[in-house]
């Protein structure tokens, strides 16, 4: 039984982690492509149109990967989490079905037009199709986060005698206090990914002394989008999300901040230290006193409950994993703000394209927003454990009762092999597109 749950969890974690590498770029990049296309319509400068066309190639490849790895997600609720689906399907099925009807049709119908219809449609309509693809992908994110928010903070439901969750207030799903901060936080994080990708490829072109005109455009656009999104992702949205956790999931908050004991007179913020679950403390800790209390409650002395106040069976299942995920996300987020701020200053002083070390940093930053997005989601998902529906349904109660661990391991191995292939193909083809670069402009 334990093995069964383990493989079910591993398979979902693996497939969703891999899947979300693609939509995070899709959502952010669609916004930036729409921006390039809009700049072209306004200025009639060919370089903006070519920039849009270049990124559309990456976008098309990335989108295809997102679609093929996304279909398994919807299936796995039923295949691996049948009990969860049976009991909560009347509620989370609403938002998931809406995602199919409202966003997937929109995206898929207009993606074909967007990618192949520039000549047929003319530039203005082509811009509209791009905008609709953007709208579809952001609507998709919204409905997924609405589903996610219900699992974190269930609203608008009642529980029947047979254990089924029944919806009794549809609009509550969308006024869920968990939803809007999480959604904005997540979308900004996805804009960070696209900004860093655009800036990184731009830096590559400048440093490589090839396509440097596009290199400058990409770096500039990436840095401006990157600074705005990096700041907003931390404040106010990240702050709001953290306050939700502190208020509604105090045990999760204690675990992710690494607070084992409740401290009198205000809690410190931990910068470094490894959770030691045997001795219930942090090893070689470096912390700053009272900051956490202030950040959370705007009061230097506010009390924050430590893990010692809670029953061990309600601890997040993987406290160290949760703690590291959260700290990696926050640490990277801080670095993002710092780098983008320096880059923006250099841009303002018109020295950015000659500041080699910033360009190299931008180039090597490419994987890190992906890591930050992934660890951010791990913070959220590991933080919800051991619950599927917070405080109401445990993860162990949600798995499919008849699917044996041998069958789940079989499919997990299959997914690992297949996704390894997909990942290699993606890198190879994206590398090819990037190396070829945008069309050279005629002057």
């Amino acid at each position: 039984m334990e093995d069964m749950l383990f493989y079910d969890r591993m398979q979902f974690a693996f497939t969703i982690t891999f899947h979300y590498l693609f939509p995070q770029l899709t959502m952010g990049l669609s916004l930036m492509i729409v921006y390039f296309k809009w700049k072209f319509l306004r200025s009639k400068l060919e370089k903006y149109n070519e920039a849009a066309k270049f990124w559309m190639k990456i976008f098309a490849l990335n989108f295809a990967m997102g679609v093929v790895t996304g279909i398994p997600m919807e299936f796995q609720f039923g295949t691996n989490w049948a009990k969860f689906s049976e009991l909560t399907g009347g509620i989370i099925g609403q938002t998931l079905a809406m995602e199919g009807m409202f966003s997937f049709f929109l995206e898929s119908s207009f993606l074909g037009l967007f990618l192949f219809g520039e000549k047929l449609l003319g530039h203005k309509l082509h811009f509209v199709t791009g905008f609709l693809v953007f709208l579809g992908s952001w609507a998709s994110g919204f409905l997924i986060i609405a589903t996610h928010s219900w699992m974190q903070f269930p609203v608008g439901y009642e529980i029947m005698e047979n254990g089924k969750f029944v919806l009794n207030n549809f609009s509550a799903l969308f006024s869920n206090p968990w939803l809007w901060p999480s959604y904005l936080h997540n979308q900004l994080a996805s804009v960070i990914t696209s900004s860093f990708v655009v800036a990184s490829i731009g830096a590559f072109y400048i440093l490589n002394k090839k396509h440097s005109e596009f290199g400058q455009l990409f770096v500039k656009t990436g840095v401006v989008f990157g600074l705005i999104s990096s700041v907003l992702v931390a404040f106010p949205t990240g702050d709001m999300v953290a306050k939700n956790v502190a208020k509604h999931q105090p045990v999760t908050f204690a675990a992710m901040e690494g607070i084992f004991e409740t401290e009198q007179g205000g809690s410190e913020i931990v910068l470094i230290g490894q959770p030691n679950m045997l001795e219930k403390k942090l090893d070689n800790k470096i912390a700053v006193p009272n900051i956490l209390s202030f950040l959370t409650y705007q009061d230097w002395d506010a009390e924050i409950k430590g893990l010692n106040e809670f029953d061990a069976k309600d601890y997040p299942t993987n406290v160290p994993g949760l703690y590291y995920s959260y700290h990696i996300m926050v640490g990277l987020g801080t670095i993002f703000i710092g780098l983008m701020l320096l880059a923006t200053i250099q841009l303002y002083r018109k020295k950015l394209y000659k500041t080699k070390w910033i360009l190299w940093s931008l180039l090597f930053m490419l994987p890190f927003p992906y890591i930050a997005n992934t660890t951010g989601w791990y913070t959220s998902e590991l933080g919800r454990q051991p619950w599927l529906v917070y405080n109401l349904m445990r993860t162990s109660a949600g798995a499919s009762p008849t699917v044996s661990s041998g069958n789940t391991l079989f499919t997990l191995l299959g997914f690992i092999g297949l996704y390894l292939l997909l990942g290699l193909l993606f890198l190879m083809l994206a590398g090819k597109i990037i190396n070829k670069g945008p069309h050279i402009l005629k002057h």
């Binding site: 199919g100 049709f105 009762p401 699917v403 499919t411 090819k432």
Partner: protein
């Protein structure tokens, strides 16, 4: 209310079969009949801008199943675990075959992805037929052993096959001779359907050959349909019961046969879309007749201990179903609008769209 969502679900599945069915069929034609690079290009161009949106019908139907009939969704998706995951893998292979082929100009690369696309299409057509066979044959709900349920009454699990490959064995498998037979019916029907789509949407040089293929395969299909009518009583002792009770249901078999017999005139159609119209009618009628014959059951039980899953005992709660109707109608209007735009922009012959070129 349950009935409304049941009809919605069946219609969405039928739309999916008709739309993605031509994609699979085109893949099968691509595998067996496309010789020249030009033919291959015409075929992929004919489905290129559409296949992704067509596949969304599967996801959307899955979503509606999830929210309107959560118990059925949970029971069948976990019970048919292995074939469903394999369908996912095939869908992935098929999609990347189609999307990645044009990205690198190299013979080996092209051969690999052509085959991936074609073989995955063929297997998907087979699997979907097998899936339909499993649903009408029914499963051992509650996994009853010696008259006692070993699981909750609506859960089950099927391995890929049992040693006897018999649909009447005590321990059933996904693949037995009956479900495999329906798989073959599905492959033949979708090959015809895909050929009709290619004839409709391209000026390819293989179109004349495809008309002959459709004509010959249609005899095979007719024979298969007749055989299936003869063996149907093995899995459903009284298959016409519903048709006697609700005579309006005779409409479905009539539609099926109109489609089937209409296709014999494929070589003389003036309009290129006529063949596609008739094969769509066949698929629509065939699916509707099958579903109607087991109505109101959605997944029959093969034991006497646990009741079959019907649209009444697996539905979600009333409030959710009625509130869902509001957003569903809005979404439906939008979806129809998108489809009209899409098919208007890409109207006519598609040979020169140049799909997959970068």
């Amino acid at each position: 209310m349950e009935l409304f969502w049941y009809i919605v679900l069946v219609i969405m599945l039928a739309v999916y079969v008709i739309l993605d069915g031509y994609d699979f069929g085109a893949g099968i034609i691509h595998l067996f009949f496309a010789k020249t690079e030009k033919d291959k290009k015409a075929i992929t161009s004919a489905i290129g801008p559409f296949w992704d949106a067509n596949e969304v019908w599967l996801i959307a139907a899955g979503g509606v199943l999830f929210f309107a009939f959560p118990t059925l969704y949970a029971s069948s998706f976990s019970g048919f675990y292995l074939p469903l995951i394999m369908i996912l893998w095939l869908l992935i292979f098929r999609a990347i075959g189609l999307e990645l082929r044009g990205q690198v100009h190299n013979r080996i690369w092209e051969v690999i992805w052509d085959k991936a696309f074609g073989v995955a299409s063929l297997l998907l057509a087979l699997f979907f037929g097998v899936a339909l066979g499993n649903v009408v044959r029914g499963v051992n709900l509650g996994m009853v052993e010696n008259g006692v349920s070993t699981q909750e009454a609506h859960y089950f699990f099927l391995p890929l096959w049992n040693p006897t490959f018999s649909p009447q064995a005590e321990h059933l498998g996904i693949i037995d001779w009956f479900t495999l037979f329906l798989g073959v019916v599905s492959v033949v029907a979708l090959t015809i359907h895909g050929a009709n789509w290619i004839i409709f949407k391209t000026n390819s040089s293989i179109n004349d050959r495809l008309k002959r293929v459709v004509f010959i395969l249609n005899f095979v299909l007719l024979a298969l349909v007749v055989v299936s009518l003869l063996i149907w009583h093995i899995i459903e002792p009284d298959p016409f019961q519903n048709f006697v009770q609700y005579p309006l249901m005779w409409l479905f078999p009539i539609i099926t046969f109109v489609g089937l017999f209409g296709l014999f005139k494929v070589r003389t159609f003036k309009k290129h879309g006529m063949g596609f119209l008739f094969s769509s009618l066949f698929l629509l009628g065939g699916l509707a007749s099958t579903v109607a014959s087991i109505f109101p059951k959605l997944l029959p039980s093969t034991n006497t201990v646990n009741p079959s899953l019907t649209l009444y005992n697996v539905a979600a709660h009333e409030y959710g179903l009625s509130v869902g109707m509001n957003w569903f109608f809005i979404a439906l209007v939008l979806v129809i609008f998108y489809m009209v735009v899409q098919y208007r922009v890409f109207k006519g012959k598609m040979d020169d769209v140049g799909y997959g070129e970068h």
